[in-house]
Amino acid sequence: MAETHQDSGGGDFDLTQFYQIFFEEAGENLDLMETMLLNLNLETADDEELNGIFRCAHSVKGGAATFGFADVAELTHQMESLLDRLRRHELQPNSAMVDVLLESADASRSLLARHQAGGEGVALPTSDLVRRISELAAGGGGAAAVAKPVAKTAASVQTARVPLKEGVRSLEIRIGPLEHPEQADAIRELFRDIPGLGEIVVMPSDRKDLRIFDVKTVSSNADLLDLFAFHVSRDFIAIKEIEEAEVVVGPGTQAVSSNFADDPQPGAPLAAFPGFGFFDGSPGAPVTAVSAVGAGVDAKVAAKAAPKAGAAGPAAQPEAATIRVAISKVDQLINLVGELVITQAMLAQNSRALDPALYQQLLTGLADLDRNTRDLQESVMSIRMIPMSIVFSRFPRMLRDLASKLGKKVDFVTQGEATELDKGLVEKITDPLTHLVRNSCDHGVEMPAERLAAGKSETGTITLSASHQGGSIVIEVRDDGRGMSREKILSKARERGIDVSDQMSDADVWQLIFAPGFSTAAVVTDVSGRGVGMDVVKRNIAALNGTVEIDSAEGYGMKVSVRLPLTLAIMDGMSVGAGDEVYILPLSSVVESFQVKADAVSTVGQGAQLIKVRDEYMPVIELEKVFQIPRGNSQKSSDIMVVVEADGSRVALLVDELLGQQQVVVKNLESNYRKVPNVSGATILGDGKVALILDTGALVRRSRH
């Protein structure tokens, strides 16, 4: 019974948060897949297109498996198998395949919508689709093609053929005569937008101004009428119940039943929204309403409608709590607020000379403006930034399930969860990271017995870490598993006709696994092994201007480092002054700072300067020299040392003064200019001026030469 799932989301609130992300992603992937399928030219389908469609199915499957939506995972797994054979050119794509894939995408969508609504309602049976896909994948196709006369209606025919579950009613809804029949089409969108409402299929109509829909739903007629009334006047709606499992074919049913339409049941709307309680105690209160509805509608249905509507409350919350907005709009907002802050600073500057006694009101206003602008800026900035923990916390559950499925023992360690990352980046690295973690668990970590035999502890460790490094964000996935085998990769590459030689460097060999369809796994599972993972990882990360590096030692484990540029990442910075100029140091690389006396610096070979900090000698870099900072006649001189650390080495930077710490938004210097040595980016200071952000990694490397 559906009611038992009613509060399934309530106990695990955190997870539902990630569900939401998954649902959004999956929806996008399915949409993309549909577009690509529709554009697919069967005769000339190229690898790129087929790979693209395959990747969509793969991503949906991966997510669904992660969150335990077995029905979606199963269906997409089948789709993936078919697509995999297509992209390997083992099968020639035909329209039957496209049809069944489109249908499967629709089915996946409806299954996802059901999960999103908290598991309410009746799952769309997929066994028929699964069977047809596997027939096609096996090389058949004739029978499946005959099974569906029209792709659009096939889904309804198929669902109608199986007996409807309890509580679901099959309705024929006629809408019209309308002056603008397009209005009725909006009703179809209702079914798409409201999870758990049911399904709607357009039936052929004999009149232009009349629309006929075949609807399967658990909602009561009154509920439907209420909903439809947003788009079409009630007077034009006629709902008629169809016998269960009856397949409605073609136009012809002339009898327009007006029973339900003309008989609005006063109790029914209340039954649908028992949570409001406005009418508690008044006649027709929820409890009585249910039985009152029974007069017009089957009591069983009304009883169903109530819990369904009750579930709509919690299910609707996550939807209402977030809105999806184009990143460009947020960027525009950030830039505008930046301008506002500058204008505000200018006003504050100009009003400083005013006499507080005479301009009290104005000054109070300006003070308010100051505070509001700052709050606004902070809020706007925080829209984009989210900590890595959001991504990381997706994995423990996934790994647990995965490990138990594979019979492995895995510890999961995360580091640097607080590292804040631009939302755009977070969204885009989630998928690649999922693939990497999955790979580590599936291919990297060995079975417990194997580990013991190799002299390792039974439990493997997968470490996920994030940090700011040298002007980039580095996310590492490490495991202490079996590592990669050079020989295996080389032989697999030869098998696939890739030109390789035994003399290739390790790094070059590891790069081979990024080739599309490259996998050394012996068995294709629904976890990984199709070799699609690394292909997707590389592609997604390259799209972010990032790089992927692999380090592996056979028998000891593997490390995949994803390096992403800081574009728009917020950074804690320390501003330092030299001459009249201001530079920003990433606070994460600053170790300490202190004042030096002129004689504390010693030289080596008449050039390199060193300073002794406690027991350590470190090279001195004069900011003034590196950046050729002009010296006016000012009295200032550099006597502050800031010790910075990068790539494991330390240098002492000689600056004039320390100006303070602040959060800065890293701006890309290269979008309109070019790369500047020793600079990782730029930022805009409170006064609207641009300050350059030092690349501590480059400065440290510079000191080595």
Binding site: E670, V676, N678
Partner: protein, 162 residues
């Protein structure tokens, strides 16, 4: 011939509008469609290791934009910065660049037939970047292919890797 036809003929013959500006005694014109906006000069943030004509970068509503002083690039005798100094913000393909000029004069429409090819002359300007010479009464207008000029490697605006 009606006015509309005349207009049509003008557009189809490729008459274009040019923004003209002064550098010292010389007058230059650039395609108005490349101009995003015109601003007053504000002191940019100096960027180390850049040629002298790149004054640095400024914040243009959240975007970091490099500023090129055309007077230094074209070896003008003097380059002063006052409250009248003007920066023309150009939108070239996907890049935004600001150029410093002495003043902006006018927007004018020139039919292609009024353009004369520039003779081969020895100049600091790459001859390929001069579209031609136009005349407005007695004055000579040097029409620049600003996009070509700005993307030339000696401008140092674009990294070697790009």
């Amino acid at each position: 011939m009606g006015v509309m036809e005349k207009m049509d003929e003008l557009t189809s013959s490729g008459a274009r509008e040019y923004l003209t500006f002064r550098l010292d005694q010389e007058e230059y014109g650039i395609d108005i469609l490349k101009v995003q906006e015109i601003r007053g000069y504000e002191r940019p943030t100096r960027v180390a290791n850049a040629p002298n004509f790149i004054k640095g970068v400024v914040n243009l509503r959240g975007t970091i934009v490099p500023i090129v002083d055309m007077r230094l690039k074209f070896n003008c005798s003097k380059a002063e910065y006052s409250s009248f100094t003007v920066v023309i913000i150009l939108n070239l393909r996907s890049r935004i660049v600001g150029i410093v000029v002495d003043s902006v004069s006018d927007v004018m429409e020139l039919p292609p037939e009024s353009l004369k090819p520039a003779p081969d002359i020895d100049s600091v300007i790459d001859s390929g970047a001069v579209l031609g010479l136009g005349s407005i009464g007695e004055r000579m207008l040097i029409l620049l292919d600003i996009e070509r000029l700005m993307s030339a490697s000696d401008m140092g605006l674009i990294g070697a890797s790009e």
